[in-house]
Symmetry: C2
């Protein structure tokens, strides 16, 4: 988690301002696109499979985009793949200012909604109004999980760290106080989008529990 970054911190472009002479609308687009570089500094709880460090939100979001493309055939309802990718590309942007809220951290979960709302207002507010509304709508759609695309995007968001935890032989499943049943409860949302992927996810958790990578009680 970035920690010290808040909604009142300076923009990246306050440090090295864009030059005069740019079209005003494009200038706002570029200011936003530079500011989102901060997503690469928001660390998640998940360990990478390929290196000995934690994953950041930008890497995670890319991974979900590729998962959507590869796993779309397992969706129980038809999904628009391009639209689903858009949802995962924007789904964590608010964490630039609100920080990552680890899935098993119930205390941080309490303030998550208001922190993320303030973050959304500041971040999407950097864009020209129509563009800000469009990105905000994608984030709202992801959060509401009322469309097949949003349900599939959320399933990817739950399945990806499950794969990383498998590769780490436990990973955040070993968080103190967390049991295999907690993991199952958190991941069950995968089943709202794909029975086949939830069967596979549950199989990994069951096998992880059997091997002692997640606790029974």
């Amino acid at each position: 988690m970035l920690g010290p970054v808040t909604t009142s911190d300076p923009l990246l472009t306050d440090r090295t301002p864009l030059p005069d002479g740019l079209d005003a609308r494009l200038r706002d687009h570029l200011t936003f696109l530079i500011e989102v570089d901060k997503l690469k500094t928001v660390l998640r709880a998940s360990p990478l499979a390929a290196a000995d460090r934690r994953e950041n939100d930008a890497e995670h979001s890319w991974h979900l985009a590729l998962m959507v493309m590869v796993l779309a055939e397992y969706a129980d309802e038809p999904i628009d793949v391009g639209h689903t990718i858009k949802l995962v590309v924007v789904h964590d942007l608010v964490e630039i200012y609100a920080g990552d809220t680890p899935i098993y951290d119930t205390e941080a979960g309490v303030t998550q909604v208001e922190r993320e709302e303030a973050a959304a207002e500041r971040l999407f507010g950097l864009l020209p109004a129509d563009a800000g509304v469009a990105l905000r709508a994608l984030w709202d759609e992801f959060e509401a999980r009322e469309t097949p695309e949003a349900r599939f995007a959320k399933a990817m968001d739950r399945l990806q760290p499950l794969l990383l935890n498998w590769m780490a032989q436990g990973g955040t499943w070993r968080t103190p106080g967390v049991t295999a049943d907690d993991v199952r409860a958190r991941k069950a949302v995968i089943g709202e989008a794909s029975k086949a992927l939830w069967d596979a996810g549950r199989h990994l958790i069951d096998e992880g529990e059997r091997r002692g990578w997640a606790r029974q009680v």
Copy 2:
């Protein structure tokens, strides 16, 4: 650059194999989706704007996806945004085995095609055949730059490090032997997709040269 990773290195799932009992097709999908975690370890030459380190390919690819969504309105030809995002999500995958070839490194450029071809065969070959062909086709489309979507994707691939170099007050523009005219020549491909974005890009390079962030000769 990952350096020591080659096409004969073990797969990540050789280290922690997926459990028995998964559907064979899904197992191949998941093996691929875990292997691509390695993209997060392929370092690019570009410095981040938000932190004092170099960018990796996964972060870069995510950034391009968001740029496509935000900047599509500047495309000179109509583009399918969802399809363009797919192109940028897969465009660097072969670097998992072939490594990043810095844009101003002409020596590495000589062997780039064959290294990337071998990488594509191994990486996309992990997938079920039809899925591998589909992803490979997206990579080929990106490389060929014959569709409006591929031209726009390539423009994003050139504009994004330009923004990072601006934020770094030079960045890789300061590579020994590189002049502002070299930068302009490398970035001119942006103009094949968007006159407005190339006008802006050239403006940043011109202003960078004026400030001494890129050399005249």
